[in-house]
Amino acid sequence: MTAVRRDGPSLKDRGVPLIDGVEKVTGRARYTADLDHTDALVGCIFRSPVSHAEIKRLDVAKAQQLDGVFAVVTAADCPHTYGVLPVAMNEYPLACHRVRYRGEPVAAVAAIDAATAQRALELIEFEVRELPAYYSSAAARAEGATLLHDDKPGNIEREVHHIFGDVAAGFDEADLVRQHRISCAEVNHAQIEPHAVLANFDPETQRLTVQSVTQVGYYLQLMLARCLEMDVSRIRVIKPFIGGGFGARVEVLNFEIIAALLARAATGTVIMQLTREENFLTHRARPQTDVMLKLGMRRDGQITACACEVVQRGGAYAGYGIVTMLYAGALLQGIYDIPAIKFDGYRVYVNLPPCGAMRGHGSVDVRHAFECALDRMARELGLDPFAVRRANLLRVPTRTMNELVVNSCGLSECLDRVEHASNWCTRIGKLPPGKGLGMACSHYVSGAAKPIHWTGEPHAVVNLKVDFDGSITALTGAADIGQGSSTMVAIAVAETLGVPLDRIRVVAGDSAITPKDNGAYSSRITFMVGNAAIDAARNLKAILLEAAARKLDARPEDIECFGEQFRIGRSGQASLSFGEVVQAALVGSGAINVKGTFTCPPEAQGGKHRGGAVGSTMGFSYAAQVVEVTVDEPTGAISVDHVWTALDCGYAINPLAVEGQVQGSVWMGMGQALSEETQYLNGLPAHSNLLEYRVPTIAESPPIEVQIVESHDPHGPFGAKEASEGALASFPPALANAVANAIGVDFDQLPLTPDRVMQALVERRRQVRASTLKRQPS
């Protein structure tokens, strides 16, 4: 295989802009809300005004009669549940008999314009018998609490209990055992494009076309078929340009099904554009999480045992729930060599919008607790934070206790790089008051090795079409949501064939044209779709070599390619251009369609224990980072002055995009660490806008230096692994460790907002005063 742009001194010389970048910067890119909807009806959702209630009466007659209203739908139009996990579909697109969170969709209208739709919503009559509502895990788990779901005692969606190794013996061997509890706030993806969907139902052909913001088109297709009781072959799902996802659009979302129901009821086209507040209600992001973590450590920093209990406040429905919890436990492993691990997880139902997958799915809050604990214990033992990590590095290749396969690991080099780049050794402990340095590590999967729907199909399929004009079109179902996956496919094909990038065109995300893809989740696209693209290109190359051989009267194995020139051997005189070879290949066959696939072998698909598939992957990315902060004691405000990050992504297929993904993920971790936090007042979202839900602005965002470490995974495409999620989870602990370094206070909460910092500083001053007073003679 060809590898380009190897190990140059400067990343700035490497990498290519996104192949769809010009459309984006010119405003020509059409996102869902930009699609022509001149004649479309406007869809709006009637949402529950209460957190938990039995529905006594829902009367939509007056709304239906309003002039300009074309359709009103309720649960009566869709008595089917939906959900991302086949084992946990307990949610209706429109609430059926019961509402379980404030803002849950109950009915929807399609009208001639938004104003008419709004008036129709006001005419809907809704009577309920309210039930007790719970907004915290503890309240929902309390004895005697009303159950949100009758089959889930204690309001526990699922419990997970895993033990690997001899945990008691591990703690006995430790020189230091410490336990701490950390609470992380719920956060939201806050992708900048609000949710939108355009649905068309053609009564003549009985076909449904849905253009939506989905990250996983085929899930949507499947759930539409289920909820609308349609043959899945009559449904087409198209993904237009997407303004970010971060996991928000991995699950099928209620409004997508509702818009389709409205389009069918109105036999027409319906556009639905959710407000920012409705985006927060749709939610599906990282849950509020309590982590109780206990570690045993030897004097030299070696970890002897780990016990971790995680409680996630999951919201009112299952969604991805159990998977988030399983990731939390599974990804305790795969980064350090820990001989014994106990994990207990409790996913709790509460009367709040359902949580789901968000960048770093399941791993972030646990990694935060873990990396903070490592630093605190290192301090007690008088060890350097880097030394503690180095004392526990995995030796690869290995199989972890929970059967995760690790074939490549560049964490050691990541540590070296950020230690050096930040001048850690000369600066740590020597910074002026209020300034601090902190570090942490993290990792993430390059795609879930076991897909959600286990059908026996390959994990990824890419088709290539070559026609008389010599152009190559790559067809992929992989959803480019801004991360650059279509560009990655183009590079993989061009590199394998040895042709210029601009010969490749990528068509992505249209179920009528592109092969099914498992979608944009768990950072699977580079590894899986990249490998499928390389496979397709190799298959195409074999066809082209054969055609060239026929034309040159030689054996295919004697043909050599030099860019787009095909020759016999190195010194061959006769040569053919790419166009001539394509023409030769088309003789007797016509347009060429070749396929490439990628399948994760069974041994990479996790352990046999219950839930053992989650966390399994073909390759982990690894990250280390150092964060420098300044804490302003009078205000409690933390500013991040500089971040040094190193990411082992195996091999950077597009270094420019890798750098961008790493910076974006580190920065998203910064939002969670410093300011992002949803809050609810009796179930009413109190931060459902971008002013109160504090996403960092450019003004408070630091320089983020990225070092790319290439460990060359034996199975990755060109050796590559994921680059979009792994670096996120090390930011919050690196920040907390830097703050501890700056002001000597350890925090047990995220985010570290100025009020929390102030409170801690005031408390410390009070303690200092109290101890001073105690020492004075009375």
Partner: protein
Amino acid sequence: MAQMHAESRKHLLRLRLNGRWREDAVADSQLLVDYLREVVHLTGTKIGCDTGECGACTVLVDGQAVPSCLVLASRCDGKSIETIESLATHNRLHRLQRAFHEKLGAQCGFCSPGMIMAAEALLRRNSRPTEEDIKAALSGNICRCTGYVKIIESVQAAAGMLP
């Protein structure tokens, strides 16, 4: 959702949009962003929040960067409005567009039109901005993808301040 109100009274609006004068009957209550997107079908200007928090709808009104979701179209009578669609000439990328493209200042691209228009307003009044100038000028524009590092580099590159 910001949409045209069916029963609002309409008045004739005359403005210079991307260099051309035009006249449209618009409802008194119509926001500039809805006028641009729904009436003129210039969908390069995006809606990210409806309430002036995200900056995705930033356009230039008489050369000033303004969130078009906070301005009534009717208040723009006689004014010059510039949107992202006006920047490229003969389909050749404007220097900011080229820089955002080549330096990866745009990932998902949804904030990019607003971000680029805010940067354009900056570069027109300050051709050699410092990093602090850039941060101040773009502080009303939220990007959720890039961490802003490459956005700053893009603006610097457009200003000829980067190799």
